[in-house]
Amino acid sequence: MLDQVKQKAKEILEKKEADGVLGLRKGLFDVIHPHVFTVPSELDALVLEPKWLFAKMARAILREKPQAWRLAVIVRGCDERAIVELVKRNQIDRERLLTLGYACDMDQAKACLCSRPFPQKLDAGAAVEGVDPLADERVKAYLEGDAGKRMEMWAAQLKRCIKCYGCRNSCPICVCVPCKLEDDVWVERGVIPAEMISFQIIRAFHLSDTCVACGACQEACPVGIPLMTLQLSMREALKKDYNYEAGLDANRKSPVLFDFAKEPRPGQAVPDWVDSMGKKP
């Protein structure tokens, strides 16, 4: 697969479809780091492992470069979805970016609890079926069962946060400057551990309809909080209610932003009134 990717990447550069290819390079002392390949011969040093998300980096590179400059990015499924979300949010100019997608193998899919371990535009490798994160026993423990117990479980987990902002920084969708998590109004500053509700829940909610389940936040967290798990039920709710999944279609914005006429819930009538305690008007 690596050869296939190299071949395609070379073609892209040779045919001048893009001015640079963003991928991983095995460099000096075998250190692996992201790199923009600009000449075909360089691509011999291309590698695909470890998992690395380039979406945000691609955004930064394109902002630096002149308008005519185009970038090709070597992406996995999650990275492609992240790019789609960034395109949707006007962070990346679709015209200036192309992707070279390859499929993850089953081991990777299992490690990530990924339900779509392949990009929609697949250029190399064969897609394997994903795993359903909600069927995973570890995930279930955090999402199902007695609410009181779960509240304590999550509290115990989130309390370990050292407020390094790693989750936010690694998340391909979190691009805001300033970020609410650094504002005293929302999150008390200089306090460790963070106020769990306002820090973790605000962040989780900001990603409610944009999280592409890449797992970057979780992987970045130095204390190992299962952060992606926090997003799963909201992703599931959007899938169920609106048949919506983030990262698939750059032309469809989150259904949560529109009224029921524009984004109805298929199979459900628009309620005349809503009351979460079940009262009637």
């Binding site: 394109l62 902002r63 308008q67 949707k88 949010r89 006007n90 962070q91 691009v175 805001c176 400057v177 300033p178 970020c179 609410k180 504002d183 109004v185 929302w186 900001h206 914005k253 989150s254 932003l257 529109f258 009224d259």
Partner: protein, 568 residues
């Protein structure tokens, strides 16, 4: 920072006997943001506003909190009274200590006093943190666009032109008149349809302020209330206009009862519209005519009453008897709807004339008899309790008005809501010809099924409302609101913080947010005139770049923190 004056009201004990106002006063006086706290027995009696204003002026403060009854009690009036005395109403806030506090916590004075303290302190936080939205002045274009030249549109156009406004009257048909053009006799006084609106049509032609555009449609509307930029597509090509207001009078169409009572297959099963056409062409001869009411109306899909079909059947039943000596006419109905003195008299007239009325039940509708040609109709008469079959050679179905197919597109273009069925939605219940978007008015059957006299009346009403809007000439965007005292503010995006994610653009129900490209990124910008201060954009902006200055996130954050602050 301008300090805050707090005026508390005992309401002659209504508040004072539950809420401990004296301790409250002491507590609030300790707040450095507060200039003074005063306790009165009333704020709403004659002279109170003047006295308060004197105090406000003497202390030189601009921000006032009224701790008294609710805004639905007297406080909205008091705010307005203070405004008349010269206080800036935008910085006068009311905290409900009576309906919302003393009266619901009468048995818990301690709890009530705590709550009062918290609520007042929250309001102080709001006033401390609030900022002023920049106002924008709109030069209102002294012209109006009227879409649809039926009775409603004609009367709106003439009404406005009589007041001196220049009118562009647009119709997709070639001549003005709308539906009435094809109706040769109209209830309730039997004059021909065109006759009924002749004076309006003539006036349209004679008044130089009205320009009629036949065979023309509106292709785009941009801009905002007071200054809409309109493009028309007509036989002479495209026309660009700038108008201050738009009146929608696009009428409605009638439901085709495909498949009901054999309609479409069986001969001489026709709609009321076809009946009118038969009268017009002199092809209405028959021995018996049976009119069936509420076909496709007042059911689960269309629960509404179309209002004109009952008088319409009376009219046509009588006409059948007049034009075909010896003919019989039946009206099969669920209820006869002839409200008002004129229509009820019309009903009496039909009764006297010998039109027969048979009432049926919605659960047991009449059944048509006949194969290629209608031969009769079987109906269960709910009053006599027997089923009978009427022999007939003509069956006329009264079907309801339904929205015009173009209405949805126009509504979207003008950004106004439609109701459940697709008619333009009024601002229910107290602004019958206004829409949720300023400067856009509705009338006639486009709004709801009505007869032509009401369509004309509504056209006049819309003209008056549009005129009072146009007449403002210089409009301040901040006053464009139904909230007494004006709009809360305009949302504003911080260009430095905005990432250009477009959430606000997607969510704004008034299409007030726009993305603008600056350099290599996009930034949101709010068109202030369009913004109605709903706050949706603020709620979906991930990092708080979008704010409502008057109730910004610092204010709200501080209010939340103060909500349950310990009291004593």
């Amino acid at each position: 920072m301008a300090k805050i004056g707090v005026i508390l009201c005992t309401c002659f004990g209504e508040i004072g006997r539950v809420v401990d106002l004296e301790s409250l006063k002491t507590r609030l006086e300790a707040d450095p943001a507060v200039d003074f706290v005063t306790i009165r027995d009333s704020l709403c009696l004659p002279g109170d506003a003047t006295r308060m204003q004197a105090l406000i002026r003497e202390r030189g403060i601009g921000k006032v909190i009224l701790g008294a009854c609710s805004i639905y009690g007297k406080m909205e009036f008091v705010r307005l009274a203070l405004a008349r005395e010269g206080t800036n109403i935008r910085t006068v806030r009311a905290v409900d200590l009576r309906e919302g506090c003393a009266w619901v916590h009468g048995k818990d004075p301690v709890g009530a006093s705590r709550r009062a303290a918290n609520q007042l302190e929250m309001e102080i936080a709001l006033l401390q943190n609030r900022q002023d939205s920049k106002d924008v002045a709109i030069r209102v274009q002294q012209e109006a666009l009227v879409i649809g030249a039926g009775p409603a549109g004609l009367s709106a156009a003439c009404g406005l032109a009589r007041l001196g406004f220049k009118i562009h009257l647009v119709d997709r048909g070639s001549a003005p008149g709308g539906l009435l053009n094809v109706i040769t006799k109209t209830f309730p006084i039997d004059e021909p349809g065109p006759e009924k609106i002749k004076n309006l049509v003539d006036e349209t032609g004679n008044n130089s302020l009205i320009r009629f555009y036949g065979k023309t449609k509106v292709s785009a509307v941009k801009g905002y209330a007071g200054d809409f930029k309109v493009s028309l597509a007509g036989p002479e090509g495209n026309t660009a206009l700038r108008v201050g207001a738009v009146v929608l009078a696009t009428g409605a169409r009638v439901l085709f009862p495909q498949g009901m009572f054999g309609y479409g297959k069986v001969k001489n099963v026709i709609t009321q519209m076809e009946m009118e056409r038969r009268f017009a062409t002199g092809a209405a001869s028959c021995k018996t005519a049976v009119f069936v009411q509420c076909v496709g109306a007042r059911n689960s899909e269309r629960p509404y009453c179309s209002t004109i079909c009952c008088p319409l059947s009376l009219k046509n039943a009588m006409r059948v008897m007049d034009e075909n000596p010896g003919a019989k006419a039946y009206v099969l109905h669920r209820d006869i709807m002839t409200p008002g003195s004129v229509l009820e008299a019309y009903y009496r007239k039909a009764l006297q004339k010998g039109v027969q009325f048979i009432r049926f039940d919605a659960d047991r509708p009449p059944e048509m008899r006949g194969q290629d040609q209608v031969s009769g109709i079987e109906v269960f008469d709910t009053i006599s309790g027997v089923s009978r079959t009427i022999e007939t050679d003509l069956l006329v179905l009264s079907t309801p008005f339904i929205p015009d197919p173009d209405a949805t597109a126009l509504a979207r273009m003008l950004n106004i809501p439609v109701d459940k069925y697709g008619f333009y939605a009024e601002v229910y219940p107290i602004h019958p010809v206004e829409t949720r978007n300023d400067g856009i008015f509705i009338c006639g059957t486009a709004r709801w099924p009505v007869a032509s006299d009401q369509a004309i009346a509504q056209g006049e009403a819309a003209a008056m409302k549009a005129a009072s809007f146009l007449g403002k000439v210089d409009l301040s965007a901040l006053t464009m609101s139904r909230v007494p005292g004006g709009k809360l503010g305009h949302a504003v995006a911080d260009a430095a913080a905005c990432t250009g994610c477009g959430n606000c653009v997607a969510v704004c129900p008034y299409q007030a947010c726009r993305l603008q490209r600056t350099g290599n990124r996009s930034v949101s910008r709010v068109i202030k005139v369009r913004c109605k201060a709903c706050g949706s954009c603020v709620s979906v902006c991930p990092n708080g770049a979008m704010q409502m200055p008057e109730q910004n996130y610092r204010a709200v954050g501080e209010m939340i923190r103060r909500a349950f602050r310990e009291v004593r």
